[in-house]
């Protein structure tokens, strides 16, 4: 991975902002999000529901209108592209799959027809060639009897099979990046593992980069090279998975880790769920958005949203956005006092 330090990243998102107006209120769903993704790299994006993960992904695809920032993909600034330019990227260079496979496929069109569309639009394949490729793709993602099922409608498939169809569709033009937004959240537990396995094997086979989004740290931890933790529309911690696991530095990340059983955090710290409810963007506290749920919040936290800074003693590229002293020693001291209290 030394080469990726030198080469410019495949996808570089800088200070992305997306704003909605709800009534008269302005809602900053994405508030200065930055991350980058190298060729063939897997990035996990984690955070409770409502933290702005989906809007971030839709914004970089141009499916929501970002109000600012920059999205450089393969040397091109996506936010400067017009609709036609973005269409050339979507489904072709960047594929995307979504949370609910029951709702993501058009109920009145056959899966074959839906699979053929990107091939016909981006690859200019004729009907026969596209159909042949559609069957191959269905077989590739593990749909039994692909040649017969290509003319079936979505309702004739189970949830897991529909997510496989979605994956086949997103991968049909062999994109450089696959964005998987909560790809397993709506599925049965047994099926979840199979879908993650499929995404992993496709990633290795096609050598593509993947952004896997989940509210569940456990889902992304096994797959991702690096993770980004989001809260209230901002990235609050990011780094290589090992580093973040070894030294979770933002209280929110520690909370997320605490809510996963079986994960060893720091000796002496107890397993804890995060108290309070997921953030409501219309009434975020001033300063750090997490401070109203944070056990360690102080007066300074209300002043301004802390920027992402390198974690002292963390691995390269490990950063957190917290005013606290996030060194291991400081955390050890804090957790033991909390234990005593």
């Amino acid at each position: 991975m030394t080469s990726s330090i030198m080469a410019p990243p495949l996808l570089d998102v800088r200070d992305l902002r997306t704003e909605f107006t709800r009534g008269k209120r302005k809602v900053l769903a994405v508030d200065g999000v930055s991350f980058s993704l190298g060729v063939g790299e897997v990035l996990g994006v984690v955070g409770e529901s409502g933290s702005g993960k989906s809007v971030t992904m839709l914004s970089l695809m141009g499916l929501e209108r970002p109000t600012g920032g920059s999205v450089r993909f393969d040397g091109e600034e996506l936010l400067d592209l017009d609709e036609a330019g973005m269409r050339r990227i979507r489904g072709n260079r960047i594929g995307m799959i979504f949370q609910d496979p029951m709702k993501s496929l058009n109920p009145v069109l056959t899966v074959g027809r839906q699979l053929m569309e990107p091939l016909r639009v981006h690859r200019q394949l004729d009907r026969r060639a596209a159909r042949k490729r559609a069957v191959e793709l269905l077989a590739m993602v593990g749909i039994p009897g692909a040649a017969l099922r290509v003319d079936d409608y979505p309702h004739q498939f189970s949830g897991g099979m529909r997510q496989r169809v979605m994956i086949a569709m997103a991968l049909s033009c062999e994109p450089a990046v696959l964005i998987a937004d909560e790809p397993t959240t709506a599925l049965d537990v047994t099926v979840q593992a199979q879908i993650l396995e499929l995404i992993g094997s496709m990633q290795r086979e096609l050598g593509m980069a993947v952004i896997i989004v989940s509210h569940d740290l456990g889902v992304v931890a096994g797959m991702a090279d690096r993770i980004c933790v989001m809260y209230g529309g901002r990235v609050v911690e990011s780094g290589r998975v090992e580093d973040v696991y070894a030294l979770p530095s933002h209280p929110y990340t520690r909370g997320l880790l605490g809510s996963i059983p079986r994960v060893e955090v720091e000796r002496g710290s107890r397993l804890e769920a995060i108290p309070g409810s997921p953030p409501d963007l219309t009434r975020l506290p001033s300063g750090c958005a997490f401070r109203d749920r944070c056990r360690f919040a102080t007066g300074t936290c209300a002043l301004e949203a802390p920027p992402l800074v390198d974690v002292p003693g963390g691995g390269g590229g490990h950063s957190a956005a917290c005013v606290l002293d996030v060194t291991p020693e400081a955390w050890r001291a804090r957790t033991t006092t909390a234990e005593v209290a």
Binding site: L63, E83, R88, R90, G91, F98, V108, L109, H155, M169
Partner: protein
């Protein structure tokens, strides 16, 4: 699918028997005797034996149930009786008039669907813009203006004043234009409103985001992905509109002095021509029932989740 259609068609039989019975009873219980009307031009009243002879000829002396059985049996063989007023076979009179009504109803429904769906889609896609307001305006106009008034205004403006189209008659294509436009525009209003709301709902669906994420053009997404979904509820409405449309043809035929089933029905009422009235009622009812079956069958074509 085939079995479904057969089942629905078989169910038409009791429906038509019921329609025949109701029409039959209503007409025989209603005041006004066709025979006395027929002989009313006798100055000092008709000779009783002539009346009786005529009653015998039209089978009016038989018990009611026997008249009904005769009627149904003849109808099954395509004989709807003889018009009392003209003396011509009712079936023939209906066959002569039906093409005019079919042309009017067919042209109107095509106009209604094309115009309604187009307005609805444009309004939904351009929501909140001038286009949206304009199309809502047009459909409010269509919903609130009575057809007869709309029809008379059309005659006044485009036939009497501008001479663009003939004001009455039914011979040619130009005779069809005005009544078909009036009926079609008036029926398009409800279709436009429903299309707009169905389209707005569909455009918010996740599979539309999927289609965009594939890099499809917005035009393809609207016509290829959204419209086929949005059309499903509209189809129900179109089925319901047929009824209103058939009623509307009666009004248009009167205003534009057109030939057709409506005219036939109205004259048969004023002349107490029972066999003719009953025959037209039967035919109109049968058409309505069959059209609704056609609508139900077409669901399966638009929505693969519907199993027939």
């Amino acid at each position: 699918m085939g079995a479904y259609v057969v089942r629905r068609l078989v169910a038409v039989i009791p429906i038509m028997l019921g329609v025949a019975l109701i029409a039959f009873l209503l007409l025989h219980l209603a005041p006004g005797d066709p025979i006395s009307l027929l002989v009313s031009n006798f100055d000092q009243g008709a000779p009783p034996d002539l009346v009786n002879q005529l009653r015998e000829r039209y089978g009016l002396n038989d018990p009611l149930w026997l008249q009904y059985v005769h009627y149904v049996w003849d109808a099954v063989r395509g004989d709807l009786g003889t018009s009392i007023f003209t003396g011509r076979p009712v079936t023939q009179m209906i066959l002569d008039a039906a093409p005019y009504t079919a042309a009017l109803a067919g042209a109107s429904i095509v106009i209604a669907v094309v115009l309604g769906v187009t307005l609805g889609v444009v309004a939904a896609v351009r929501r909140g813009t001038w286009w949206d307001n304009a199309s809502i305006g047009v459909s409010l106009f269509g919903l609130s203006i009575p057809q007869f008034w709309f029809g008379m205004m059309a005659v006044l403006i485009f036939a009497v004043n501008l001479h663009w189209f003939p004001s009455s008659g039914s011979g040619s294509f130009s005779h069809l234009v005005l009544p078909a436009l009036v009926l079609g525009i008036s029926a398009s209003a409800a279709i436009a409103r429903l299309t707009r709301s169905a389209m707005l709902e569909v455009l918010g669906e996740q599979y539309i985001v999927t289609a965009r994420a594939k890099g499809l053009r917005e035009v393809t997404i609207i016509s290829g992905h959204a419209l086929k979904n949005a059309f499903i509820p509209v189809l129900t409405l179109i089925g319901l509109q047929f009824g209103r449309l058939l009623g509307g043809t009666v009004i248009m035929e009167t205003i534009f002095n057109r030939q057709g089933l409506g005219t036939l029905m109205l004259t048969s009422i004023t002349r107490s021509d029972f066999p003719l009235l009953q025959g037209t009622l039967m035919v109109v009812a049968a058409v309505y029932v069959l059209l609704n079956i056609a609508v139900d069958v077409s669901y399966a074509w638009f929505d693969p989740r519907v199993r027939l």
